[in-house]
Homo-oligomer: 341 residues x 2
DNA sequence: CTTGCGCCTGTTAGCGTTACCGGCAAGGGG
DNA sequence: CCCCTTGCCGGTAACGCTAACAGGCGCAAG
């Protein structure tokens, strides 16, 4: 019977207006079928009239659930993490969840824990971790056990379910493609050593080379940036033996492309280049980049549903792989001296 | 005096262990200076021993504050929004806030409200809106008045404080630069009509042309994607009169570059191209792209601090502009027939 | 020696919601 | 005709925390 002006309406206000108890209002909101249709209608009308909104905090206090999911992620400025975050958020929204983020600036082994802690302090119901790092794996092994967690693109030896793109398979496809064009071997510009994807891609590349009995050249390590791709590309361009390069992401591939061109080596006539990711821009590189498409959206959706399972108490499968797809464009071609001898 | 095993510790557990009242524990956590050092130490020890974590919901229920900020944003996959989001998150974290996101998939005029509503239901303390759209402006005019809101890159005629990059100034710089190279006029590939930035950039471009008494050609409208840049670029390439193009973002510029090259028109010898944004990749386009750098991080930080002011009850300045910077690289050069006649 | 003031700590009363149990009416079977 | 089930609804007690006030103690001033 409080003054209904000013302060937002609470359950009691609705109850009074509808002439029922607060419990009934609560039921209308949470289990409508347990209330007679007529009463329900009256309550709903009151809710509408007062523009009532449930108090999240009060509800959470008593139920223990917050309806908020956390995502801890490295640099959400990068295309991959950003896309994953986006699709997680979309999926979460449709299921009635909100999403909080904790971006990691540094990657020391405590930062993952710190991110999870921050989210936990905010009482999220579950956490998705997007941090494809060795050091992240380390952090994943020391998590509060009662917290439902799912990882994206993590390694195999961690105690949480993982959703990921089959990086190795992607690398295999790209490398096979290059070999099938007649190249004797394939050079590889990889990502940083502590990135799991980088290492998976190396593994796939190496696997194909070894299986085909080809020489396995030294791996060049970049940092995912175009700049590093450019620098490494100059080294490659200086070596006339190089006819095919598999680059671990599209940004670096852009740098490689530029280095090659500056050195007067034509793509794909002299050197073939394949990337990884299939950025929206990749089709407009010069030449249009052959690359491996990862469906980040799919990964995000998988991760979300696996988390939902875990939150429901079920033990979801330990791993969910998304198949990447080779997209052949114009940056790869027959090995020099082959088609036109 | 409850069993301390299993269930996480609550304030009372800490109080009992430290031999004080719950109120004292609460004070140690929220206003340490109001408790004697000795007592404080005892409490802190108990907190540590029990691994106590304050219950967010309970605190929020009584204080009315959640310590969570909301960001409603269009497609966080795009570089600009992603960067802004990232810097907001960083700034918020350092100030002890968490951030929740609400990405918008569509841009109808209700979606902004919907996003804000969702965040409001989650009881965020304030909201930053990243939606540089006409329709967004519409949504911004109908917000719950008690909710502190700050917008990023919004228009001028809205009732909330705005942090933004001075798009018009950026366009002015790019266009002047092109004119100063001797080009008779400058074509413009713009972004979608309902994007404010797109229109601001058009305005800056037009302004310079008019001030210089040059013809103002028809604007070409893209959708920010490389694909659209490519398509529009082909139209431009077909017109031999075209010697300078100012493109409203780097992705489209990439497409334009490719279209020009395919048509046999050299950049910058035949046609100069300038972009906008300065993506990390822009320096590795071919040729390296002259563009206008926007400091999204700065914008995000401004937005956050303005929001903080609003939440503190202060009325922050209505607008905070960040100056963009022209980065001259190799995609722009003297007008043909000028330097080498 | 008393009075008053500050410093520190405790007591009480909610914040808004849902869980749990209990009650009451209507309807069906014995 | 009575008892028991079934369907709906209400009362009460938490959930874990902090605001507001109250009180005890020591010390300085009168």
């Amino acid at each position: 019977m409080k003054s209904r002006t000013g302060r937002p309406a609470v359950l009691m206000d609705v109850a009074v207006l509808a002439g029922v108890s607060t419990m009934t209002v609560s039921r209308v909101l949470n289990a409508p079928e347990r209330v007679r249709a007529e009463t329900r209608a009256r309550v709903l009308a009151a809710v509408k009239e007062l523009d009532y909104r449930p108090n999240h905090a009060a509800r959470q206090l008593v139920t223990g659930r917050s309806g908020v999911l956390g995502v801890v992620s490295i640099d959400t400025t990068l295309y991959g993490p950003a896309s994953t975050l986006y699709s997680v958020e979309q999926a979460a929204r449709h299921a009635g969840y909100n999403v909080s983020i904790a971006s990691l600036s540094s990657l020391d082994r405590t930062s993952i824990r710190e991110g999870v802690e921050r989210l936990r302090a905010q009482a999220v119901d579950g956490v998705i971790i997007v941090a494809p790092h060795e050091s992240a794996a380390d952090g994943l092994r020391h998590l509060p056990p009662e917290m439902p967690v799912v990882a994206v693109d993590a390694g195999d030896d961690i105690p949480v379910p993982v959703a990921k793109v089959d990086q190795r398979a992607g690398a295999v496809r790209a490398t096979r493609h290059l070999l099938s064009l007649g190249h004797e071997t394939v050079r590889h510009v990889a990502g940083p050593a502590d990135w799991l994807d980088a290492n998976d891609r190396i593994a796939g590349w190496r696997e194909v080379l070894e299986a085909a009995g080809r020489p396995v050249p030294e791996v060049l390590r970049g940092d995912w940036s175009s700049r590093s791709g450019y620098q490494l590309g100059r080294r490659l361009a200086a070596d006339p033996e190089v006819t095919a390069v598999f680059v671990a992401n599209d940004q670096m591939a852009l740098g490689v492309l530029r280095a090659l061109r500056e050195a007067g080596r034509r793509v794909p006539e002299d050197v073939s280049v394949a990337g990884f990711d299939d950025l929206p821009e990749a089709a407009y590189f010069w030449p249009p980049l052959t690359t491996v498409r990862q469906d980040f959206g799919e990964v995000g959706r998988h991760a979300f549903h696996m988390l939902l399972d875990r939150m429901a108490g079920a033990e979801p499968e330990a791993r969910r792989m998304v198949e990447p797809e080779l997209v052949v464009r114009e940056s790869t071609g027959a090995a020099p001296g082959l088609s036109r001898a």
